[in-house]
């Protein structure tokens, strides 16, 4: 028998000591993991255990200036299935086919997909959702949700825009004011095991959604409705391709109405508003057709403004002092610029006339003469100064920019055509904004729809403000322009817009669209009232009218009709 010697004992103790040190080291490591790094790992673990389902926040409403709701929400349901919880797949498939009207193939595919949650359909009517819930099938989730609802369907469709399946704005004010309207989605958090089965004993925690804010606009539902009727009437009478009407406050840029017929139904934005046969279209063609339908021609499309642009030439000429009201002109029916003979619309000529009469006659040679007196350099300077080279900054997406000659490419002929509104393109909103700035005393305004943001109880969250720029023209020039344009309506080419007892300023225009060989026209009229202190400025644009196409004949009466009806309603006199 061997003795258990002292050195054996000593060494055993040494080994024990080493082990104890190691265990202490591990305890230290545990302290690090469980105290210092605890938050990090807890959070990671929690992310792993939690499944979240969104609770949709109610989207803010879009209101008109009187608080009428233009875009609202209605309760709908989202139907989903949770694969791991389904106990009777055949019953679930049959139910989905019956209640949602989807094909059995699709239902089967969704039900049999191994995923934590599979969404079957969104925007299901609440009544259908309630019925599905009443089946009480395991693994079928019915989540309450909101769907956008537009009570006036077509009204201002190209201004308001609509939302997609996830209630996010797609076009129009809906997308421009997405941040204001969307709110913050809430969450239902449930804890699950590794297979995704919810642990009911731990319950669920909710993060309540925050409703989106309401957007109050300057639109007036009644004015918009009336303007839409007027637009539809003239579109039908003239078999026009479309009619756009914009009514705005030239003093501050607030837009009261923007009609672009044909409008489309905001509650059904994927049905074309034309009689086109969609069954033959490829997906891409159909998408293009939809995009075309959703466009707002007042803002997204440019056109040659024609004679309404003489207002800009007039303002530039008066500002520069190259012409005054009493200057005498003579119109033989054409004007020769370099080697070109540019005709007046009246081939026989207007004869002798002063500048005011030239404007009343919408005489091309008079304005060509003013343009040539300014010269290309100076004309271009005013073009820029009036803000025509920049976008207006309207609060709708996709505003089109001005299509203009390069400064160095403007020769005498180009200058002559620019002077009466041809050979370049701007948007109707640009024209309305620029004329507003000239007739309101020289203040460039930003046209806009959004006025203020409120919460659902009507408390003010934010008053929206827009840029203005003073000194576009002098107040004297502004007054002279108003005087001339009043004459145009009361005694000149715009007399079809005149209303007895009211002072209206305005200008007609008839422009040909490119290519000129097709003989397609755009007739327009721009008017404002009262002439001395404009409170409402409107522009009527009729695209491709059949038969008589003169702006003074077909567009001016539309504005007159609208003014006659809305001015008393708005309480504007004079």
């Amino acid at each position: 028998m061997k003795k258990n010697r002292t050195y054996h004992k000593k060494k055993t103790v040494i080994v024990f000591g080493v082990f104890v040190c190691m265990l202490l080291g591990l305890a230290g490591r545990m302290f690090y993991l469980m105290v210092i790094r605890s938050d990090y790992y807890s959070e990671k673990a929690q992310e792993l255990h939690e499944r979240e389902r969104d609770i949709k926040a109610a989207r803010g409403k879009i209101l008109d200036c009187n608080g009428e709701v233009l875009a609202d929400n209605k309760a709908v349901c989202t139907i989903s299935v949770i694969h791991s919880q389904i106990t009777e797949p055949e019953k679930v498939i049959a139910m989905l086919v019956k209640e949602l009207g989807i094909s059995e193939e699709i239902a089967r595919k969704r039900v049999e997909t191994v995923s934590s949650i599979e969404r079957i359909e969104t925007n299901v009517e609440k009544s259908v959702g309630d019925k599905i819930r009443s089946y009480g099938l395991d693994g079928v989730k019915v989540d309450e949700d909101y769907k956008r609802d537009y009570p006036y369907e077509e009204l201002a469709s190209k201004v308001l825009g609509f939302t997609g399946g996830d209630n996010q704005g797609i076009v129009g004010l809906e997308v421009k004011y997405e941040d204001v309207l969307k709110g913050i989605d809430g969450k239902i958090l449930t804890t699950t095991d590794a297979r995704g089965v919810e642990l009911s004993e731990l319950g669920e925690s909710r993060i309540e959604p925050v409703e989106g804010y309401n957007l109050q606009t300057s639109l007036d539902k009644n004015i918009q409705m009336y303007a839409q009727q007027a637009a539809l009437k003239v579109m039908e009478e003239k078999e026009a391709q479309g009619v756009s009407i914009l009514l705005m406050n030239p003093q501050n840029g607030e837009i009261y109405a923007n009609v672009n017929v044909p409008e489309y139904n905001l509650n059904d934005p994927f049905t074309l508003n034309t009689d086109q046969d969609t069954s033959q279209m490829t997906e891409e063609e159909f998408q293009d057709a939809c995009n075309q339908m959703w466009r707002n021609p007042t803002i997204n499309d440019t056109y040659e403004p024609g004679s309404t642009f003489k207002i800009i030439t007039m303002a530039a000429g008066l500002s520069q002092g190259v012409v005054d009201l009493d200057d005498q002109f003579s119109c033989p029916g054409y004007k020769i610029v370099e080697d070109r003979r540019i005709h007046c619309h009246k081939r026989t000529g207007h004869g002798a006339e002063n500048f005011v009469e030239g404007a009343m006659n919408s005489c091309n040679p008079v304005f060509i003469e003013v343009g040539l007196r300014l010269g290309a350099e100076t004309y271009y300077h005013y073009f820029e100064k009036f803000g025509l080279m920049e976008k207006t900054g309207i609060d709708l997406p996709g505003e089109a920019g001005t299509i203009m000659h390069k400064k160095e490419d403007i020769g005498q002929v180009e200058l002559a055509t620019i002077s009466f509104g041809q050979s370049f393109q701007i948007t109707p909103i640009q024209l309305a904004t620029t004329v507003s700035s000239i007739v309101n005393g020289g203040k460039r305004v930003t046209p806009h729809f959004g006025v203020r943001v409120t919460d659902n109880d009507g408390n003010l969250i934010e008053e929206l403000s827009y840029e203005t720029q003073e000194g576009i023209v002098s107040s004297q020039v502004s007054e002279e322009v108003r005087y001339i344009l009043e004459k145009v309506v009361s005694e000149g080419s715009g007399k079809n817009a005149a209303i007895e007892g009211r002072t209206i300023g305005g200008k007609t225009a008839t422009s040909q669209t490119l290519p000129r060989s097709e003989n397609r026209y755009i007739s327009s009229f721009l008017g404002f009232t009262p002439a001395e202190n404009p409170q409402i400025l409107g522009i009527v644009v009729i695209y491709d009218p059949q038969g008589v196409y003169y702006g003074g004949t077909i567009a001016a009466p539309v504005m007159k009709d609208i003014y006659q009806n809305i001015l008393p309603y708005m309480g504007i006199e004079g």
């Binding site: 028998m1 080994v15 591990l26 673990a45």
Partner: protein
């Protein structure tokens, strides 16, 4: 002659208490951890618990019987037992059941048996036999290397499928030879050679280097999944834990939570406090084994107790080190607590040997 008189002494009560405490706590933790897996896989929450309870009962009986045996008799049997363990390990290689990619089990009807657990006991007995047989004078480096060489067959056989157990066997061997030898310096050399060998070993196979990379940054690798899930469990325990039974990570997130990673669930449920208590109990157990070794009446008993202490300590330290990602992942169970019938059976058997040594202690 001395030993006959000292036979009347009672076994180390504190050691018995600590073993029973660990066994009972182990069963509670095992039930808590395995209930979900049992329910999901076998529709019986107590599936793992029942099997473990059976093995534990058997083991406690074994421990009781062994504690009354003369350990010298067991040591005399060592060559035979070692031979049996070699045969069994060979049998596993040939007819073993594969589970989770490694062949470690022999099946006998409804019972399955893990020979590598038996091998560890056999090695402790064998080394005690070899060392006590040799002359005390010639214990040079070569002599020691010769003793270690005896272990090579079993290390090779076990190591084929179960590298971590082979490492434990080598560790026990080195510690026993260290204890039996009066010198210190050669062991510094052995340590140095060991480090070099580990370096070469790791460099030889790229998958081992990958393991190192996973160890350093487990979140970046798919194979770091188990490690990361263990860390999530430990970290989310905090200081006092979520409460017994409240672990979420055991719900399928930590794979096979009742096996190697059980300590992470203990940490999640009982926190830093519980985890440290478990370490403390193991520490006390190792301390009692150390006391048993130093108070043994002869070298043989001392070596047995020291070997058992080394086995226990190495396994606890490696397991906790793996679970806390202190070292790269390797499969080592936590004594008495991890699920595994063979393991608990032979561990309790070893405790019986230790108790037997303590009954014949010198004061």
């Amino acid at each position: 002659m001395e030993s006959r008189k000292k036979k009347e002494k009672t076994a180390d009560g504190l050691l018995i208490f600590l073993v029973l405490l660990l066994v009972v706590c182990g069963l509670i933790f095992l039930y808590s951890t395995s209930a979900y897996n049992g329910r999901v896989k076998f529709h019986d929450s107590a599936y793992y618990f029942k099997k473990q309870l059976f093995a534990t009962s058997l083991g406690l009986m074994g421990m009781y019987l062994v504690s009354f045996m003369d350990y010298n008799f067991l040591v005399k049997m060592a060559p035979f037992l070692y031979g049996v363990s070699l045969l069994l390990s060979l049998a596993v290689l040939l007819f073993g059941d594969e589970y989770n990619g490694s062949k470690r089990w022999l099946s006998l009807g409804p019972l399955s048996f893990q020979p590598s657990e038996f091998a560890k006991v056999a090695v402790i007995l064998l080394l005690a036999w070899v060392i006590t047989k040799g002359k005390e004078e010639n214990r040079g480096i070569l002599y020691m290397a010769g003793r270690m060489a005896i272990l090579l067959p079993i290390v090779g056989l076990v190591g084929t499928n179960n590298l971590s157990t082979a490492v434990i066997i080598l560790g026990i061997g080195v510690i026993l030879i260290f204890v039996s030898n009066p010198r210190y310096l050669p062991f510094v050399g052995i340590g140095g050679v060991g480090v070099v060998f580990i370096g070469i070993f790791l460099g030889m196979a790229s998958y081992r280097l990958e393991r190192l990379a996973i160890w350093r940054n487990p979140e970046a690798y798919e194979k770091g999944f188990q490690t990361i899930q263990g860390l999530y469990a430990i970290g989310s325990g905090g200081i006092f834990g979520k409460g017994l039974g409240s672990s979420l990570q055991k719900l399928g997130f930590v794979p096979e939570a009742q096996n190697d990673m059980i300590f992470s669930i203990i940490c999640e449920e009982t926190g830093l406090a519980g985890g440290c208590l478990v370490i403390l109990v193991f520490g006390l157990l190792i301390w009692r084994l150390m006391v048993t070794a130093t108070h043994a009446q002869d070298l043989c008993g001392s070596l047995l107790a020291a070997g058992i202490m080394a086995h226990m300590a190495i396994q606890v330290i490696l397991n906790i080190a793996v679970v806390t990602n202190t070292i790269p992942n390797t499969g080592i169970t936590l004594p008495f607590i991890s699920y595994g019938g063979t393991s608990v059976l032979f561990l309790l058997g070893e405790m019986g040997i230790a108790l037997s040594v303590s009954r014949r202690r010198k004061d």
